[in-house]
Each structure stands twice: as C-alpha cells, then as structure tokens.
Symmetry: C2
Subunit: 132 residues, 2 copies
DNA sequence: CTGCATCCCTCCTGATACTG
DNA sequence: CAGTATCAGGAGGGATGCAG
C-alpha cells in the first residue's frame, strides 16, 4: 500500500523496535526522554514560545548550562525549534514542534503523577523505613 | 467535608505541589520516576509477579546491581511489593502495588512513544547534523 | 540576553567477586 | 537464585569567566 497512514506507520515501528532489547536504538532514546529536566522543560513550553530566560525563571533551580544543554538535545531530536531574532540584545525563542506536541501529554502525565501521588509515596516511605 | 474522594484529594495535592518549584519534594520524586530502568521495570511487570531472574532476562542488558537497586527504590516508594518464598533456593517475586498500577500506564506511554517515534527522531537528528 | 568553555566534584553505572 | 561489597570509569551537574 502506498497509502499508509501515520498511525499505521507508528504501529509498524512499534513492532520493529523494542526497548527491552539491549541494542535497540530506542533504549538510548528512552534514556534521553527519561530525564528530569526534559520532564520539566517540555511541560514548561505549554503556552507557546518561551525565551531562555523565561524558561529559566519558570523552572526554578535549573542552571543555565543544563537548560541550554537540554534544549540543544531536544532541538536535535526534533522536539523543539530554536528561533533567533537578531536584535540588541539577541532574542531566542523555543517552541514545541509537532513532534514535541506529541510528546507533551506524556511528559505532563509524569509531572502530574508525581504531584498527585506525592503524599502516597511519602506514606509508603515512612512505612518502609519503620520496618524492623 | 469528611467525604472527600480519592480523586478530590489528588486534585488538592496537585494544587499543593508544583515540580516547577525548586524545593518542592515532587522535584525529587520526578527525578526518581524519570529513570531509564524504572521506565523498563514497570512495564516489564505488566503480566503479574515476576522473579528477579525473569526481569533480568526480559530487560536485556540490565546489570544485577541496577535491577536490585531499582526494585528496592520502587519498593520503598510503594510501587512494588517484594515477596520472599522460603525455599531452596530462595524465590523472590516482585509485583506492582495498586499505586504501581496507577503509574504503569504513564511508564508504558513513554516506552511506546520512544518505539513509535524512533524514525522521526532519527530523521530530525540527520537534518540537524547536516546543517552548515 | 544568550551561549560556549573550563574546571571540578559528585554520583551513577557496570564488572567482578563473594555470602546466604 | 538473590543479594551485597567493592572498585574504577565516566557521565551529570554546578560555578565562573568570556564572547557574540
């Protein structure tokens, strides 16, 4: 068929790739996606383009180095676009690509899960640590 | 109200916690959840209890140390139960708790996303690397 | 404002070897 | 079979200074 849909291609890809296998390239991609800063940067880009300084302000505690590094990787992987506006001083905006928008709900889900279940995890840890 | 539902409590928790804040405890929880091995171990526990060796076989390339370490942390956080059967040799089974089952779909989503979008990421990287 | 380079230190990770 | 202990390499991450 020449008319395979995007969904069909993705189903095919899911059969071809398996992160349980050691040498599968998805293993490396998975380790990139499972990154603390990625899980914060992607959700932070929810409301359209953001400047470097805006992101740094929103994601408290991120160093300039890690933010730049994370954004570079995301850009290379096609999840984020980097737009430079030649002005003085220079303005740089980051925005989710369509691929980035597909990842967005997944990253938000993790962040939300952590926020919604923090208390239950605290309780579990207390019980665990109180064991003889 | 004395009759708050679990869903309501979670909504409340979501207002109380914010991983964007540096000192919020969810920041630490988030960094634990965004772990390559967690994203593989949780999905691997899909079909009921699994032994240490079964997990090691399924998740190719994981070292015995990292598997044990990951399972310990998951157990402490209340996501996994560890059951020891006193036999010779000893048998140890790991199983998702109800809390673990709530995290399950999120972890599977990441793993699937990586497998389904690997090709698009490859393409983006090729374009990025080919730039002047 | 944004980003690169450098130094430096911590912690993660994986091999190996050893106990119950 | 399951788990602990140990060690060495390397990646992760922070601070600072400089450049476009």
């Amino acid at each position: 068929m020449a008319t395979t849909t995007a969904a069909q291609r993705r189903e095919q890809a899911k059969r071809d790739y398996d992160a349980f296998l050691e040498r599968c390239p998805t293993r490396e991609l998975l380790s990139r996606l499972t990154d603390k800063w990625v899980a914060l940067v992607i959700p932070a880009l929810a409301n359209g383009p953001q400047r470097h300084s805006e992101l740094a302000g929103r994601i408290a505690g991120v160093s300039q180095k890690m933010l730049t590094q994370t954004l570079r990787t995301l850009e290379r992987d096609g999840l984020v676009t980097r737009t430079v506006t030649a002005s003085v001083p220079v303005r740089v905006d980051y925005e989710l690509t369509s691929l980035g928008h597909e990842l967005f709900p997944v990253m938000v889900a993790i962040k939300n899960w952590a926020e919604m279940h923090m208390d239950q995890v605290f309780e579990a840890r207390a019980q665990f640590d109180a064991r003889p």
